[in-house]
């Protein structure tokens, strides 16, 4: 698909050559020669120009890295992800915390409130 911006068309050379982004150099070359046979310059000069221009933009690794920089990049495949395991144990610290809170609940905090006395002189 050729994605266009309002500024300038971002012709996708991979789309012109009917390639996937992941295709290697050999596949790019094969696609180019197949299309050139299908659209020879003497019969289809404009189409040939388009094919040639697209090929030039991705034929070498260097050119390709520059071209890819200004093309929309499709999302990568979802990598294999490990699911996390759950901690379904009963923890001793939680038992103690529960017991502490049960004990705290029995305390009368008010008993510890003490109003300070000011000196008499």
């Amino acid at each position: 698909m050729a994605l266009k911006t309002s500024g300038k068309p971002l012709t996708d050379p991979y789309a012109v050559l009917g390639l996937e982004r992941t295709d290697d150099e050999a596949e790019i070359k094969r696609a180019y020669f197949r299309l050139v046979r299908e659209y020879p310059p003497e019969r289809e000069p404009e189409k040939f120009q388009e094919i040639r221009a697209a090929y030039e933009r991705i034929r070498s690794a260097e050119a390709r890295s520059q071209t890819d920089l200004f093309l929309l990049q499709p999302p990568p495949a979802l990598p294999r992800r490990r699911k996390l395991t759950y901690d379904l144990d009963v923890h001793g610290e939680d038992i103690i915390a529960l017991a502490v809170e049960l004990g705290v609940a029995t305390l009368s905090i008010q008993e510890d409130f003490h109003e300070p006395e000011l000196p008499k002189q």
């Binding site: 500024g7 920089l69 996390l84 009963v90 001793g92 305390l107 003490h114 300070p116």
Partner: protein, 750 residues
């Protein structure tokens, strides 16, 4: 006079004591006590601070300390958060370090925070100072169990003792120690919670969800309920009931529970759900789930999966042309897990929206944040970084932000100093900005990198042409060394030679009429022709000079050579025809005219120019007439837009300005005969009245008639002339136009 009112301190009013401390401090601390009573602890502390500013004596300082400690203590007891409580208690202990109750409650807070060793030390201290304190034996026993120390049953109530015994069994059970039993009574409402926890502790598959739910409902004190709800979630997940688990854990998280297991379980739950949705390609649901739990991006895999969801959603939006939506998704993707490709797509989407500055900044951001390690998957080579900076420059240029273009291009060049195309762009930018010196520097650098770079040399040559202090000819020679057929360089070099002749020297505009060619001019042009053999402009120039000095035969040969070298170049052909007449070669001109007629899309102006020049140089009316005939004949061609009447009027004006009365009369006759309804006749009359008889009113009348007729006849050629005369008569012409009109009135003579 008003009587002064004495305020008597309350303590004196009660008649109990005489104040020993400063009166102000007493009042202040009394107010502090009042505030303490009302529960305004921080205000009470402010009163203490105010009193201390008065330099209290020992007794009052002690009182101030007690008040401050009590205020901190009560504030601590008011807080639900153990860490807040702890810091308040520590502030209180700083005031009264020996108060056992403060150490007891500090121990409790440390227990609640899971800092069992610290809690044990603190409660141990209290056990020495206040062994009979209510609740101490129970909590001290729990702290001892937590740190693996022996504990004593002394001082505990039966429920406390039973609970401690059960806790010890639960904490130290390892699944091989047999069934756990307990005796009542126990602390807490109902025994379901203990039964449920025992079951879960001893059997990894036990899932007493309902019992824990009931227990949590019975024990609603928040710190207790949240532990029970957490285990309700654990029990639910043991049965793979993720919905109940999520609900329970979300609740306890909201209730302030913080434990590694809770965090781990919530993350695992969310990650599992998100990965399942992502594997099914349900990206929208992944994004929605993430939006609800936005703070869970601590987990790298979770964050990357959510970022991937937004990446997909943005890409789908972009494919549908919904660039704003794409921008939003890719921004979110960047927040979750930034990557080079997301940043790149974001910048391209901003471009698509025409947000050029935002796009430029996105590209800059991408360059700035790129990973520097070569083995990183998002690593950018220097060439790529240069391309990004250059692209950012384009975006700024699109936005008209030219101030940012140069820095971007210079940044690009830092990464690709030998990229001559890039340097040429900077040079062009500097040339457009009129910064010739800076541009020259860049162009010279390009030539240093690539001595035969024609594009840079040509720009340098053009730049030098505009300057008095630079000689462009060596540059043009460099261009020709790289590309011997370079037309611009050949022409420019030829012009360089021509400019060295007397007529074209810098003094020529002033002394044009008096300067005569010299022998050295001929030498200069011959040298030029040696360097540029057969160059038509040099041949014409040499022919012209030779004709001027009377060497007509040689002039004729050179001019003919020039014609043969560029028979389609109207500039050369025009000069050749005219200079042939100077060289007394009218016969050759006559022979050439039929060939010249064949130049494609030649315009009448070419022949009118020949006519004007022939009249100026006094070659006789017959040559002017011949050229005018050619012009009129050319008027029949489809590419000529002017009308017949318009061409005749042009010819008539040339004849008048050239002081050619016979030709003028003939053309006037033709105008009257050939185009009587075009308005040209009326225009002629009006012009004569205005210019010759100075009768402006009569001229105006006739001019209006001419305009009317020309409009009726749709004769734009005539209308062009009427409009000009009309403007002139109304004084609407500029100074330049008036000077031209004056010049015309004078017959074109200075």
């Amino acid at each position: 006079m008003a009587k002064k009112k004495h305020i008597i301190p309350s303590v004196i009013r009660r008649g109990t004591v005489v104040p020993a401390a400063p009166t102000g401090a007493r009042d202040i601390l009394q107010e502090g006590v009042r505030l303490l009573r009302r529960g305004n602890y921080d205000e009470a502390l402010q009163q203490v601070a105010r009193a201390r500013e008065l330099h209290l004596d020992a007794a009052w300082e002690t009182a101030a300390r007690e008040l401050a400690a009590e205020a901190h203590f009560r504030a601590a007891m008011q807080s639900d958060s153990p860490s807040n409580r702890l810091s308040r208690l520590e502030a209180a202990i700083a005031e009264t370090p020996d108060a056992p109750k403060l150490h007891f409650h500090r121990g409790v807070a440390l227990l609640q925070m899971g800092r069992f060793n610290d809690a044990f030390s603190e409660l141990d201290l209290v056990a020495q100072r206040q062994p009979a304190r209510r609740g101490l034996a129970y909590l001290y026993a729990l702290a001892s169990i937590a740190v693996g120390r022996p504990w004593s049953p002394n001082g505990m109530l039966p429920a406390e003792l039973n609970t401690v015994r059960l806790v010890e069994k639960l904490v130290y059970s390892n699944g091989r120690s047999g069934p756990i039993t307990f005796e009542g009574p126990l602390l807490g409402k109902g025994v379901e919670m203990w039964q449920a926890l025992i079951a879960m502790r001893t059997d990894a598959a036990a899932a007493p969800t309902r019992e824990l739910k009931v227990a949590a409902e019975q024990n609603m004190r928040r710190p207790i309920a949240r532990i029970l709800r957490y285990y309700q979630g654990v029990a639910a997940l043991r049965q793979d009931d993720r919905e109940t688990a999520r609900s329970a854990w979300t609740y306890v998280q909201g209730a302030g529970m913080t434990s590694a297991a809770l965090e781990e379980n919530l993350t695992a739950l969310l990650r599992g759900e998100v990965i399942e949705l992502a594997q099914a390609g349900r990206w929208q649901e992944v994004a929605q789930r993430a939006d609800r739990l936005a703070n869970s991006n601590q987990d790298r895999i979770l964050a990357e999966t959510v970022a991937l969801a937004h990446y997909h959603l943005g890409y789908e939006a972009a494919r549908a042309g919904k660039w704003s939506s794409a921008v939003q998704h890719w921004r979110k993707a960047s927040e979750w897990a930034p990557s080079r490709h997301i940043a790149q797509n974001l910048a391209l989407a901003e471009e698509a929206l025409g947000n050029w500055v935002a796009a430029a900044e996105a590209w800059r951001e991408m360059a700035r944040r790129r990973p520097r390690k070569e083995d990183h998957p998002d690593y950018l080579t220097d060439a790529q970084v240069a391309a990004i900076w250059a692209h950012a420059a384009d975006c700024y240029a699109q936005a008209g932000r030219f101030d940012e273009v140069e820095p971007c291009l210079r940044n690009a060049l830092k990464y690709a100093p030998n990229d001559v195309a890039l340097r040429l762009r900077l040079a062009d930018f500097l040339l457009d900005a009129g910064r010739q010196e800076a541009a020259e520097g860049q162009l010279k650098e390009i030539v240093a990198i690539e001595p035969q770079n024609v594009e840079a040399l040509v720009r340098l040559g053009r730049l030098y042409e505009e300057r008095w202090d630079r000689d462009p000819m060596p540059i043009w020679r460099q261009v020709l060394a790289a590309d011997p057929t370079h037309a611009e360089a050949r022409d420019a070099l030829a012009e360089g030679y021509i400019n060295m002749t007397t007529k074209r020297s810098i003094l020529a505009p002033i002394h044009l009429a008096t300067l005569r060619p010299t022998a050295s001019d001929i030498e200069v042009l011959e040298a030029g022709l040696k360097e540029l053999p057969g160059h038509p402009k040099l041949l014409v120039a040499l022919g012209s000079v030779l004709a001027d000095v009377g060497r007509d035969k040689e002039a004729r040969e050179n001019l003919l050579q020039a014609y043969r070298a560029a028979p389609q170049n109207v500039e050369v052909v025009s000069q050749v025809l005219h200079d042939l007449l100077h060289a007394q070669a009218g016969d050759v001109v006559e022979k050439l005219i039929p060939e010249v007629r064949q130049i494609p899309h030649l315009l009448p102006a070419f022949w009118f120019s020949q006519a004007t020049q022939s009249l100026n140089c006094k070659f006789g009316e017959e040559w002017a007439f011949a050229f005018i005939e050619e012009a009129l004949e050319l008027g029949k061609q489809p590419w000529v837009e002017d009308t017949r009447a318009g061409l005749l009027l042009e010819a008539y004006h040339i004849a008048r300005q050239g002081r050619a009365p016979g030709l003028s009369a003939e053309l006037e006759r033709r105008i009257r005969a050939e185009v009587p309804l075009s308005g040209a006749v009326q225009y002629l009359e009006a012009a004569k009245l205005y210019y010759d008889k100075k009768s402006k009113r009569e001229a105006a009348k006739l001019l209006q008639e001419a305009i009317r007729m020309a409009q009726k006849a749709h004769d734009n050629g005539v209308l062009r002339y009427t409009e000009r005369l009309d403007m002139e008569m109304k004084g609407l012409l500029t100074d330049f136009d008036l000077q031209r009109a004056l010049l015309e009135l004078l017959g074109g003579k200075l």
